[in-house]
């Protein structure tokens, strides 16, 4: 009797395992469709960037041309520099503000939600028109590329605020702060020792979005006459098609590299608020 039940149980468990591991056909189909949707344009870009090459030129000729262009390096580094400045200013402004609102002024959260939506509804051109009198008044500042960082802080506000807001909602902020206080820590000390390490993923996520905005912002930089990476991309795109497409692919790679950096940095900071396992 026991043998019979064992013998019949084994194939049954195999069948169960097979059934579990079998992926339905429509799942695969959906995956393939999504892959085509995303990969086809990239394939086309790569394909096009390898065409139009004259005899004697290397297969990566257009890429070589981009890298050899001093404007590529200067505009790219200018954008990176502005991005990092924007991230620094945004974090210094926003982290303590959002922390304090969550901790002591939660009633202001809806107000903050509203304020941080404004950059979505106010177009950059309107912002520049609004800033024009100040730019005229402080012309010495307007000629420095750092001015872009202060303007981009406004553009990055909704993204950074939401990332930080989500990060702070994910931890029991009040209890953690009170626990640290009871152990003798001051509020600034608690912010640096306890809260920031637990907001690492949110800070990295918000910072990356900020970098992405800065690296792609064209209107304001163009109006203020700074030759940033998007301006360079536009210029190349309108003059040399092959080179412009090669530059587009380089931009893709740079964004992917940044996403990978986010993943690697965020992986170490995934110490989310204590999820208990049962004893």
């Amino acid at each position: 009797m026991a043998q019979v039940s064992t013998a019949s149980a084994a194939p049954a468990s195999h069948r169960l395992r097979r059934a579990r591991s079998r992926v339905p056909l429509w799942h695969v189909l959906w995956l393939v469709l999504a892959a085509i949707f995303f990969l086809l344009p990239i394939y086309s870009v790569v394909r096009f960037s390898l065409e139009g090459i004259l005899p004697g030129q290397g297969i990566f000729h257009w890429y070589q041309t981009v890298f050899d262009d001093p404007n590529f390096r200067s505009s790219f580094w200018l954008s990176v520099q502005i991005s990092l400045e924007t991230v620094a200013v945004s974090l210094v402004l926003m982290v303590p503000t959002v922390f304090w609102i969550h901790l002591r002024l939660p009633r202001l959260r809806p107000v903050m939600d509203l304020i941080t939506i404004l950059p979505f509804v106010v177009p950059p051109i309107v912002l520049i028109v609004g800033l024009a009198p100040y730019i005229e008044k402080f012309s010495w500042l307007a000629v420095r590329p750092e001015v872009l960082a202060f303007i981009y802080v406004v553009f990055a506000l909704p993204f950074l605020y939401r990332a930080l807001d989500g990060g702070l909602r994910a931890i029991d902020l009040k209890t953690l702060v009170e626990a640290a206080e009871s152990l003798g820590s001051s509020i600034p000390g608690t912010l640096f020792r306890v809260i920031l390490p637990n907001l690492r993923a949110a800070i990295i996520g918000g910072s990356l979005l900020t970098v992405a905005i800065c690296m792609g912002e064209y209107t304001v930089a163009s109006l203020l006459g700074f030759f940033t990476f998007p301006n360079y991309t536009y210029e190349i795109g309108t003059s040399t098609a092959y080179e412009g497409v090669a530059l587009t692919f380089i931009s893709f790679i740079l964004v992917w590299a940044m996403m990978l950096a986010l993943y690697l940095l965020g992986r170490g900071g995934r110490a989310a608020a204590g999820v208990a396992i049962r004893e």
Binding site: D172, E178, A179, E181, S182, L183, S185, N198, A273, G274
Partner: protein, 375 residues
């Protein structure tokens, strides 16, 4: 070891009075539980002592000094919270060392102290675990070790076990008491669980509506409740109505029964209607054979319900005095069934006449069964 005195603490939130002139003295090395239903002000009192909240008026005196002017991080009070409060980015050891790092102790001294305390709470083997790798009970043990690491003047525990399952709760409350006795630290423990408070405290302060209803040892609270609130909140009480027939001899007639109230503070005039209280374990039952009459001093009742509670069974009765509850040995209860006629007697020594409270316990926040109040 420190003493804590709360003097006339009053705290309001808008129109809600959370604390209403609360006075409480906690002696050095004593374990006092603040027991009461949700919203009675016990956590507010604890948070004011810790420095996370401030009273409208009153004083918090620790070792003879009013500490209300000090911020929370200067009061040197260890606190364990109801919510899991370990720092998620730190291991158990780093959590325990946190307060010592703030005090700039060197690495060796910190590590040694963390090892000692994690050993004390039985988690020496979990020093390098992160909070997410620990169960709720383990996290609260580490939180206890962390709060003890700074050698606090007073240990404050705000319902630290309420998020844990029943078995772990019992085990951990015994550990909390063992550690408190071992270190002799003055401890204030907030709970709404009467069993928890009665089992581990030197004294229990029962609170209701921001006021202290009664302060006493667990035995005093259980056996000698001074108000109807305490009687009903701590354990289960039967309430009987009677008429005073002799003021001097404290004799009361309750339906078919004439009883003498043992309480010497009983002051009621003849003809006055009074409420008497008796615990279910002081209500005796005897099976009545068909047609038999109850013996003298007893009265007849019929079983309406049986609730198995382990060693005892709670028997619901319908009697001439109204519905009553009686706790009998579960072995005896095997002979009972619904509608069984029984003879019911009261331990008259256990009868109490209590001062009415302005509040009644919220049955949802007490451990009492819905049938605890028989009014």
């Amino acid at each position: 070891m420190s003493t804590v005195e709360l003097r006339g603490l009053r705290r309001t939130f808008g129109s809600v009075v959370a604390l209403d002139r609360l006075d409480l003295d906690v002696h050095s090395g004593e374990f006092v539980s603040l027991l009461g239903p949700s919203g009675c002000g016990k956590t507010t009192a604890l948070r004011i002592i810790a420095g996370f909240d401030w009273p409208d008026s009153g004083e918090v005196v620790v070792d003879g000094h009013d500490v209300l002017g000090l911020p929370a991080n200067k009061r040197n009070m260890g606190m364990v919270f109801q919510a899991y409060s370990l720092f998620p980015n730190m291991t158990a050891q780093q959590n325990v060392e946190f307060g010592l790092r703030i005090r700039k102790q060197n690495h060796e001294a910190r590590a040694r102290r963390a090892r000692e305390l994690l050993d004390l709470v039985g988690l020496a083997s979990a020093m390098s675990r992160y909070p997410r790798q620990m169960s709720g009970g383990q996290q609260q043990r580490v939180a206890l070790a962390r709060s003890l690491a700074i050698e606090p003047k007073v240990l404050l525990l705000d319902e630290p076990l309420s998020a844990l399952d029943a078995k772990v709760r019992v085990q951990l409350r015994e550990e909390v008491r063992r550690i408190q006795l071992e270190l002799g630290i003055t401890t204030l423990y907030v709970t709404h669980d009467q069993e928890e408070a009665l089992s581990i405290s030197d004294r229990v302060a029962v609170m209701s509506a921001g006021r202290l209803e009664q302060l006493g040892t667990p035995a005093q609270i259980y056996n000698g409740p001074r108000t109807s609130f305490v009687a009903n909140f701590v354990g289960t009480m039967n309430k009987l109505e009677g008429v005073v027939i002799s003021s001097e001899d404290r004799v009361v007639r309750c339906g078919p029964l004439t009883v003498t109230v043992p309480d010497p503070s009983f002051r009621h005039s003849v003809g006055e209607t009074v409420e008497l209280y008796v615990r279910p374990e002081d209500v005796r039952l005897e099976l009545l054979s068909n047609g038999a009459s109850p013996r003298a001093g007893s009265f007849e009742g019929r079983v309406t319900s049986l609730t198995f509670l382990g060693p005892v069974t709670r028997v619901g009765l319908q009697t001439d005095l109204g519905p009553l509850l009686s706790d009998v040995s579960s072995a005896v209860a095997l002979n009972l069934a619904a509608d069984t006629p029984v003879s019911v007697g009261l331990e008259t020594d256990a009868l109490r006449s209590l001062v009415s409270s302005t509040t009644t316990p919220d049955s949802s926040s007490s451990d009492s069964s819905p049938t605890a109040l028989l009014s």
